[in-house]
Amino acid sequence: MSNSLIKSSLNIYVAGYGCCKQEIIASAGPVYDISRFGISFVSFPESADVLVFQGFYNGKGLKKVINIYNQMISPKWVIALGKCTLENLSYEGSGNNLLYEFKKRLKVDVYVPGCPPRPEAFIYSLLRLMEKP
């Protein structure tokens, strides 16, 4: 019951930077209009329900994301977005496989492939997250 209440109006925290972020911001615009599903963007991890994990990271950036995830209040969900996070894009200090490192510490609910995924794909991933019990 409480989960379905929260899922009816999700707050998103977008971590990282890069090409995928361009498309996320485009999805906030009037053309794609993500807010019609009650989804809004926040800048405090405390008030976020969903962490969107996307873009380029090095070792320090990854530590920061995990810190953000720990600050979020459960129930919480994670969406991994884009090629850089899904494939073996190794940067210095982050080990070989970024996602492997990340998965060791937290659970990813939805994966979205694409470089970068279109705004429709991003919105669809959130709708799938809402459908999940």
């Binding site: 209440l5 929260i6 109006s9 209009d33 019609r36 599903f37 009650g38 800048s43 008030s47």
Partner: protein
């Protein structure tokens, strides 16, 4: 006793319905201005949005502080003094307006306090800064309210409304009305009352709130807007005076929603004000001189009229 309970029930019912309609309207109007469609809902229907959006905060189990309780209770207390309609007021006193203003200022203090009192530490300088910000906005309002009191020679809401049976006060006090309106718009802007969540970012008095405290602040912010609109309505626009054939209560409702929509439009048209100096500039260069001039003119007219009657 039964009548009192009935009245309380009516007031709570009216406030609840208003809360629902206003938050729904707020969402729709804001989104229409920005070329969006507003909340449509996915499998749950767009009409349930205000409920789900606010009840959501209860679902996250987070402890809350004493300030949240005060913020939640005080706006409800306000409505025991302020009459929604001629019959719907619980406490009938001669000093209703005075009590309401005091409660309102106290509420603002609590609100500012709860913002600065985060779980990490309490910053006194920040509190004083924000409070002085609010106070500079309230002083012109107080001056224009004083002008109304002198005009109608009463502190009672009912007498003020009844004295407007022929002409509304806005005809005698156009400057005061403008000052009151501008300060309401800026207050809504400053306190981020119309909770708008598009990329929440460096918003001034926005608490890093979660859980019930967020719900309390949202609730109180809507009730403050209601209070300000009702005050504007009663003081300047004739309150529940009936107009031609339309009965008074319906008239009050219509005026309430018209003012609310205009307020939202104004609020959207102005971009975020973040710096203290700009607000103080606006206040001391425009609002305060206007309100003082208005007050002085009313006092002079008041004296002259009395002198005339005596002669």
């Amino acid at each position: 006793m039964l009548i009192l309970l009935k009245k309380i029930g009516y007031i709570i019912l009216i406030l609840g319905i208003n809360l629902y309609i206003v938050s729904f309207l707020n969402n729709k109007i804001i989104s229409r201005i920005e070329l969006r469609r507003g909340y449509k809902g996915y499998k749950r229907g767009g009409l349930g949005f205000p409920f789900s959006n606010s009840l959501k905060y209860i679902a996250k189990g987070v402890p809350f502080s004493i300030w949240d309780i005060l913020i939640f209770v005080f706006p409800i207390l306000l409505w025991s003094v302020v009459p929604i309609s001629f019959n719907l007021s619980i406490i009938d006193s001669q000093y209703n307006l005075f009590i309401a203003m005091v409660l309102y200022i106290l509420l603002l203090v609590f609100r500012v306090f709860s913002v600065t009192y985060s779980k990490y530490n309490f910053v006194i300088s920040d509190f004083i800064r924000r409070f002085s910000q609010m106070l500079t906005l309230i002083t012109p309002v107080l001056f224009s309210v004083l002008a109304i009191i002198i005009l109608n020679k009463s502190l009672d809401f009912k007498i003020i409304v009844n004295s407007q049976y022929q002409y509304w006060n806005i005809i005698y006090q156009p400057v005061g009305f403008i000052v009151f309106f501008i300060s309401i718009v800026v207050q809504i802007k400053l306190m981020n009352l119309s909770e708008h969540n598009q990329f929440l970012y460096s918003d001034n008095t926005n608490k890093e709130g979660e859980g019930i405290s967020k719900l309390a602040s949202r609730f109180s912010s809507y009730l403050i807007i209601f209070f300000l609109i009702t005050l504007l309505n009663i003081l300047y626009l004739g309150g529940w005076q009936k107009l031609y054939m339309v009965s008074g209560d319906i008239m009050a409702g219509i005026k309430f929603y018209i003012i609310f929509v205009i307020l939202i439009l104004f609020e959207r048209a102005i971009s975020n004000i973040s710096s203290l100096s700009k607000i103080i500039n606006l206040n001391y260069k425009l609002l305060l001189p206007l309100s003082i001039a208005n007050l002085v003119i009313t006092i002079v007219f008041f004296i002259l009229r009395n002198v005339y009657f005596i002669i």
